[in-house]
Symmetry: C2
Subunit: 331 residues, 2 copies
């Protein structure tokens, strides 16, 4: 026979603490509606701890008619230190506002199917990084009770609040810097890895926009993140005198390939990356880069909370992402 | 007035599809107990889609007495491409077995408090990477209905299945290679960043173990991931002739500091990293490294499924993590 341990109930907790079940529920679900003395709260917490009782989030949300769960699709691509710190900050800030943040993988699901899967969890709010959702997906989520959908991406999605990640500015910044350093034939690396178009497309567009009318040329340069691809690119070098390499890691790859064929950096080709990673400072010459500032996790949490409290309000739109050039030796 | 969209119910779907509510529930919750024709299934799916109805995971799990949710604490530290691919593989494989994988941040929560927070979500199984849980946490999860807790870490936790990540082997492998290359005073970098002790401690222990009785010395070398810390370490260099640098990123940092003070690699100091990242191949000299193989996501998903079906079975223990040296120019 399979032995399943007895699951303690809130009635057990009430008995041990000598209070009513309602009191247990008020205390453990942090309801503010009822005044309960600190001593009683302590007794309930101690009894729950002793019995190993934890409230049931699903039951609570069914009772309340909505959950305190904020869903955040888990990123399918590896996340750098910058974005990882941002995610932690968002989770911490939402936690302090008494939300539970849950990340949900949507690997292999297309846009609106992913939204449907998320809706099954009945989150009170959903944060969607990148371009993971369309207007139909937003509608599905709202119909199943989500009070707020917030996108973090390059474009607005109908019905959702938007933190517009201004990746154009990253490209503008890099291209303007290269132009200022006297470069006129400028390549912009477009990674071939899937999932990065969301960032690479606006970066290229921003670079083009920055140099429109100057007579300088801006060329998109497709590049896969492999040594072979970098070597091939350099072997058929389109005689560029500068490259914005998408980010520091692609910059390192490209610098190595250029140096291996005897090109001098920055004399023959200036190279600038983005993200201001440690590795750029360790390269020789030291890599110039675009430092990117993400929005504060606290501001994002506050937006979610505002939207949850006022689900009928106009969608908010904020431009976020600060960009600034850090010039080192490679440009 | 706040306008909240009308949430469609399963009754609406039943009406539109011309079937009973029970049929809607059978079809959308993928119950196999009842035979339903493909045509009816299609009608139900179409009606649900048209109305934008999605089943409620929490209600379903309350009805069923357990959920199909597998909880996976979201890593608080940035994850490299290797681990990120592994997480995606696990999620995909569990998804194909009809589980819903949810990642839950536990930033700022200590061990057993985290387990209590996870238990609120009533997962049917929990995967815990690192050393995020103790025997009490496992008991809390089981009492609240989790049928399986699987840890991925250096040690077994009572009551849980264990995939033992053999980080000792990574250290053994690196140290044996350096010894074989004629080195006798070997440093092992121990990162000062919090959260990495779980990996660094067994790596150092493995290196010591590999060279016990050989007369070679193995010294733990604390190092923070900053240029200043690396420069200070090199300025007070304990005259080591080789270093296992924890991983490729610390190796890059240390190589740069050594080269900046005129030390030749590998002549004066041999350096080996771990993880086999691209950046190691781009360094000059090219970085030797320990390639680490994670367990297959499919095997882990199968273990979870087995454990969920037979919650009373003996905890399984598997040693995982393959390690092999990739020798390049730095050793």
């Amino acid at each position: 026979m399979v032995q399943i341990p007895n699951t303690p109930t809130s009635a057990d907790v009430a008995r041990l603490a000598g209070v009513s079940r309602a009191t247990v529920s008020y205390v453990l679900n942090k309801t503010d509606a009822v005044r309960i003395s600190d001593a009683t709260r302590r007794r309930v917490h101690e009894a729950a701890r002793e019995l190993g009782y934890v409230p049931h989030a699903a039951a609570r949300s069914l009772r309340a008619g909505h959950s305190r769960t904020v869903l955040m699709p888990a990123p399918a691509i590896p996340v750098g230190p910058l974005y990882s710190a941002f995610l932690n900050e968002v989770q911490g800030a939402l936690g302090r506002l008494d939300y539970t943040v849950v990340q949900y993988g949507s690997v292999g699901l297309q846009c609106d199917d992913a939204a449907r899967a998320w809706a099954e969890l009945r989150p009170v709010a959903v944060l969607v990084p990148g371009t993971g959702i369309g207007p139909r997906g937003v509608a599905v989520l709202k119909r199943s009770g989500a009070r707020a959908v917030v996108t973090l991406g390059p474009e607005r999605v109908e019905g959702a609040h938007a933190l517009l990640m201004d990746h154009d500015a990253v490209g503008r910044c890099a291209a303007a810097h290269l132009y200022e350093r006297g470069r006129r034939r400028i390549g912009v690396v477009v990674p071939e890895e899937p999932g990065l178009e969301v960032y690479s497309r606006p970066r290229l567009a921003g670079a083009r926009q920055a140099l429109r009318g100057t007579g300088a040329s801006v060329i998109g340069v497709p590049l896969a993140y492999t040594e072979r691809a970098a070597a091939e690119l350099v072997a058929n070098w389109p005689e560029l005198d500068a490259v914005f390499a998408y980010n520091d890691e692609y910059a390192m790859l490209l610098m190595r390939a250029l140096q291996d064929t005897g090109r001098r950096i920055p004399e023959d080709v200036a190279v600038i990356g983005a993200d201001d990673l440690m590795l750029g400072r360790l390269l020789r010459p030291r890599l110039s880069t675009v430092r990117i500032e993400l929005p504060s996790g606290r501001a994002l949490a506050a937006l979610v909370d505002r939207a949850v409290r006022d689900p009928g309000g106009e969608p908010e739109v904020h431009r976020v992402l600060g960009s600034s050039v850090v010039r080192r030796e490679s440009t």
